[in-house]
């Protein structure tokens, strides 16, 4: 009779231990990051993000070039991806039949599954040369009066990085948006159609408006994803701690500088500065990701 008590209790104990381990990893993560970035935080404090000099030789570390690169490429990627992702999501929820939906679903999962390094590979050897030879000069011909399209086209630059990023964040935005659109009750659509709306008008009134908040969350998630993306960006952005208005010039991001310089960082302050960048990258990503995820969960649940 006492047998039962023990085996059930042991089982619950094992389950709890597993849960505790999972939880501890997160705690440890913050501890390690804080510990190793402490030196840089103490030395530079918040000026870290306004200083533009990143000079390991003279131990001057300012992260603004990377902040700039991250923000520029991520927002640009979002601007490029958003209309396309939302359109695809609308297609899936409003136009596609079951088979097409399944088929496109496979395409989107595969797109999401392609490893970052492969995006980078295609970026370096296909997109960058295309940029350099055709697309860049082409854009300059038409939009060359705009300041950001001036300067020589390097190929490995902000623009290429933004395009690669936009492809990578599209599956995220699309799949969440599709869920949100699917959650809009059928009756809302029928209501506007019954009033004589065209399909576009119906979508604008009944679907987009209703899902507006959720879409913003989805976009924020996509933005968060872009900000944290490392390999593909590192491979096509040129890795120069630059700040330039010219989209066709090379730059660097918070993630790419860590990837590039971490293993070669000599000196405690150098390494600590990279940890500091990592800490901030983490906090920004979480700040974008978590509220969005909670919001989306809430929206999809209250269907």
């Amino acid at each position: 009779m006492t047998n039962k008590d023990y085996s059930n209790k042991i089982f619950k104990f094992i389950l709890k231990i597993s849960a505790i381990i999972s939880f501890s990893i997160l705690v440890l993560l913050f501890v390690v990051l804080l510990k190793h970035s402490y030196l840089a935080i103490k030395t530079f404090k918040l000026k870290f993000f306004i200083d533009t000099t990143w000079d390991p030789v003279f131990e001057k570390f300012g992260a603004l070039p990377f902040v700039y690169g991250t923000l520029l490429t991520s927002f640009l990627a979002l601007i490029i991806s958003a209309p396309i992702s939302i359109s695809v999501a609308l297609f899936l929820s409003e136009f596609a039949n079951r088979r097409l939906k399944e088929f496109l679903g496979v395409i989107i999962s595969l797109l999401a599954a392609i490893p970052s390094v492969i995006y980078g590979l295609v970026g370096i050897f296909v997109l960058a040369p295309l940029m350099r030879e055709y697309i860049g000069p082409g854009i300059q011909k038409i939009f060359g009066f705009l300041p950001f399209f001036q300067g020589s086209v390097y190929g490995l630059d902000y623009f290429t990085a933004s395009i690669v990023l936009s492809i990578m964040i599209t599956p995220t935005i699309t799949s969440i948006s599709t869920e949100l659109f699917d959650a809009v009750p059928k009756s809302l659509r029928e209501a506007s159609l019954a009033l004589g709306a065209t399909k576009w008008e119906m979508i604008k009134i009944s679907v987009l408006k209703t899902a507006k908040v959720g879409i913003i969350a989805a976009l924020l998630l996509g933005l968060g994803r872009a900000i944290g993306e490392t390999m593909a960006v590192t491979m096509v952005i040129g890795n120069v701690p630059n700040i330039s208005l010219y989209l066709f010039s090379s730059g660097a991001t918070l993630a790419s500088v860590i990837a590039n310089e971490f293993t070669e960082a000599t000196g405690d302050l150098y390494l600590s500065s990279l940890y500091y960048i990592g800490l901030v990258l983490l906090l920004v990503t979480l700040a974008l990701n978590l509220p969005s995820k909670i919001l989306i969960k809430y929206l999809v649940k209250t269907k």
Binding site: A19, P83, V106, T198, G228, N289
Partner: protein, 273 residues
């Protein structure tokens, strides 16, 4: 602009977007397969990398390395996360469960490069060496939230009446969970496992500062080890044509492995529903 025209433009844009996305996927896949296939030869699978500048050689250590790193990571993460997932489902109302669930959500949002930085500080720095083991630890941290979350969802999907039926037969609670409920949820749980494997197989960033890479064989798990995505990265950014060629070959293998895992897991999900 009249309404009908707006409608048409809108629909055109939608179809355009769908085409763009489909084209991009098909292009990337096709190009990698094409460039990779023409770059592959037997050497690729059986030879070690040649010294810098010399042509030829292969990536056998990277291929094996990837399997080993992911394999060991699975050993850590799969049992741990399935148990955690079961915990979250069984005791979903307990306060601690909510804390764990939130922690896992947060963990899954951490960029993989930060995981690499973390494991560097946690394992590599104290040990004063890069190692296959550190790489496995980094990958398992990525896998855990994914598998735990899927497991929780799938176990939740098992109807309560199944659990009641098991209990009504006088079977111990833990046996009902383990032998009946988990069994029923198996296809779903497996899906989660496969998806996480697909994810970590292609991860490069967390390995940059943990397993680091190796032009030779690692002698033990405490040595730095080569991995497929790492090798692809190094070869891709290098100025040597032959290395670039090999990068494509590596990408070919990698994309096939990842695609297979994804497609199999999709099949499983359908079967489960």
């Amino acid at each position: 602009m009249n309404r009908k025209l707006k409608d048409k433009i809108f629909q055109f844009f939608i179809y355009l977007s769908v085409s763009i996305v489909s084209f991009v996927l098909l292009f990337i896949t096709g190009y990698v397969l094409y460039k990779g296939f023409s770059s592959i030869n037997l050497d690729f699978f059986i030879r070690l990398p040649k010294p810098v500048g010399e042509e030829g050689g292969g990536m056998v250590n990277a291929i094996v390395g990837s399997f080993m790193i992911v394999g060991i990571a699975s050993l850590f993460s799969i049992p741990l996360s399935i148990l955690t997932g079961v915990y979250l489902s069984e005791y979903k109302n307990e306060k601690f469960a909510n804390i764990v669930r939130s922690s896992l959500e947060i963990l899954s949002a951490v960029p993989s490069i930060i995981i690499g930085v973390f494991v560097y500080g946690l394992v590599v720095y104290p040990m004063k060496r890069f190692s296959l083991l550190a790489g496995s630890i980094a990958l398992s941290i990525i896998m855990i939230p994914l598998i735990a979350r899927t497991t929780e969802e799938m176990v939740n999907m098992v109807p309560t009446t199944i659990k009641e039926a098991g209990l009504s037969l006088g079977i111990k609670n833990w046996k009902v969970i383990f032998y009946i409920i988990l069994n029923t949820a198996k296809p779903g749980v497996l899906t989660g496992v496969l998806l996480s494997l697909a994810r970590v197989f292609g991860e490069t960033a967390p390995l940059l500062f943990t397993s680091f890479g190796n032009r030779f064989w690692h002698r033990s798990i405490l040595d730095p080890a080569a991995a497929l995505p790492l090798q692809i990265f190094v070869y891709a950014i290098a100025p040597y044509d032959d290395w670039n060629r090999q990068a494509w070959a590596g990408a070919f293998i990698l994309i096939i492995i990842v695609y297979i895992l994804i497609i199999v897991s999709r099949r499983l999900v359908l079967k489960y529903k």
